[in-house]
């Protein structure tokens, strides 16, 4: 049985039954899933959770699904690494990386939200699932839909790279490209969802989809020994994950799994797509859309509907946020790879680069614990850094040639030092 009570408008509080509905009919505000926390508190304990399989469903009481979860049996419960070498570099003693570059099966945090959305699509009886995406979301929807035996249609803007189309079609999804940019595609999908009754994971299933993002926060708290970090830094695009991680921490306290839930949550955006940070720095609630221009494609959203909730969560927690330029993003990707052996996509580089700024601004202090959230894998976005790293040396297959190169590079120490 589930502990879900209803859908509730985050703006005006109007309640709706659990259904594929995402917008309040009165004020257009977004709908959110409500739970019976008192009942959950009585049903859940740290020991119960710790005995369960290592996937996102170990927190099932706090997720909006009915029955035994079947989608995403290996999604979630990604590593939380103590990053000592990177920490030494940044002057932070307790630095952690929450590493969703190895989320199963599609290597990004989207495996969490999509597992919940597709579970719900099946419950509601949908046979076709869909989304507008050019990357991580498309791949996750296509892969999970394949395993669930659902039809899948992915909408992309015209002109995206072949690799991104392959990343969806390989799973049997149908890809439709639209003449326009990503925001145009999103708008069209909203109208298609309305007219054709398909399950768009991030539109009409959005209230359920976004709940999956809480598991990122649940895991961080459990992996830290059932406590929240002093600081957590997250990237912001549409505005899903950051407020949901904050909500997740608060829920753990509400149901008795955490003694307290003190944390500062910080927002990272790419300088070329930073409408939320502009509003945060200006001290306003009004988010002015921008036309995105950044190498961090996975977070290039100019008109984030949940940006307001990002601002609220950041301000409530006493957190802050900043932007990273494309060169700063690339340097941070390289630093993470060279110190911790983790290859992040540009969104991860953005998050680390902003963490470094917050440390420089003394908003994060050396003895405080910090979690840097890495939400996607760099192997999918090799082109973003390919021109910014050392190119290989080319020699003939003769020892003499290697001897010469070895001398030229200045002996063993320099030859092995690489470009780092």
């Amino acid at each position: 049985m589930s502990y879900v009570t209803n859908l509730k408008c985050r703006e005006c509080g109007q309640e709706y039954p659990i259904s594929p509905l995402h917008v309040c009919e009165t004020c257009f505000g977004p709908l959110e899933v409500g739970y019976d926390y008192a009942k959950i508190r009585a049903a859940i304990s740290r020991a119960t959770i710790e005995r369960r399989a290592h996937n996102l469903w170990r927190y099932r009481e706090l997720l909006p699904v009915e029955g035994e979860p079947e989608i995403g049996p290996f999604s979630g419960f990604t590593p939380l690494l103590r990053a000592e070498r990177l920490g030494a570099e940044l002057g932070i003693k307790k630095l952690y990386i929450k590493d969703d570059t190895v989320n199963h099966p599609t290597l990004s945090y989207k495996d969490r939200v999509v597992s919940v959305a597709i579970s719900k699509a099946r419950e509601f009886g949908f046979t076709t699932v869909s989304c507008a995406s050019t990357g991580n979301l498309a791949t996750a929807v296509a892969a999970h839909a394949a395993r669930a035996g659902l039809n899948c249609v992915i909408f992309m803007p015209e002109g995206v790279e072949t690799g991104k189309i392959v990343g969806s079609t390989i799973y049997g999804a149908r890809v439709i490209t639209i003449r326009g940019n990503y925001d145009d595609v999103n708008r069209l999908c909203s109208e298609i969802a309305d007219k054709y009754g398909w399950a768009f994971v991030n539109i009409n299933l959005r209230p359920y989809y976004t709940e999956g993002a809480k598991t990122f926060g649940f895991e961080v708290a459990e992996q830290l020994g059932w406590r929240t970090p002093d600081h957590i830094v997250l990237p912001t695009a549409g505005g899903t994950i950051l407020p949901k991680v904050a909500k997740g921490f608060k829920e753990l306290k509400e149901v008795g799994l955490l003694r307290d839930s003190e944390f500062k949550i910080h927002c990272a955006q790419a300088a070329g797509a930073a409408p939320v940070i502009h509003a945060l720095h200006k001290g306003t609630d009004l988010i002015t859309p921008v036309k995105p221009d950044t190498i961090a494609k996975s977070i290039a959203i100019g008109n984030p509907a949940d940006g307001f909730y990002v601002l609220r969560a950041v301000r409530e927690s006493g957190g802050w946020g900043d932007v990273a330029t494309d060169p700063e993003i690339i340097e941070a990707i390289k630093l993470l790879a060279c110190t911790e052996g983790i290859f992040a996509e540009p969104a991860g580089g953005t998050t680390l680069a902003v963490t470094m700024k917050l440390i420089a601004q003394k908003r994060i202090k050396p003895d405080e614990s910090v979690v840097v959230s890495i939400t996607g894998n760099g192997y999918k976005t090799v082109e973003a850094v390919a021109q910014s790293i050392e190119q290989p040396f080319v020699i003939e297959a003769r020892l003499r040639e290697f001897d010469a190169l070895y001398e030229r590079l200045g002996g063993t120490r320099r030859a092995l030092a690489g470009a780092a």
Binding site: C27, N136, E191, N202
Partner: protein, 92 residues
């Protein structure tokens, strides 16, 4: 100046279930006022007490977000397409 307006599901109870209606006006603001005359009740769903577009409502004029144009004062021509779309956020 007649324009076509696409109406999203939450507003169709004001248009007897119709998903596209016509309205008149020389600016977005005038069109929304005309919509209110033709389909009473729509205005307060779209605009807040100060007459500004509600936070979660996006209005597109021929595919362009009016926040990038001249907001509610954006000029409208005969035959233009207007879409009212609830704000949605997705990841990419």
């Amino acid at each position: 100046m007649a324009v076509r307006v696409r109406v999203p599901t939450p507003l169709r109870r004001f248009t007897a279930g119709v998903d596209e209606v016509t309205a008149e006006g020389d600016s977005i603001k005038a069109v929304l006022e005309d919509l209110e005359r033709r389909h009473p009740g729509m205005r307060e769903r779209l605009l807040d007490d100060n007459g500004e577009l509600r936070r979660f409502v996006n209005v597109y004029l021929n595919g362009d977000d009016i926040r990038f144009l001249n907001q509610l004062s954006s000029k409208v021509k005969d035959g233009d397409d207007i879409s009212i779309v609830p704000a949605i956020a997705g990841g990419r």
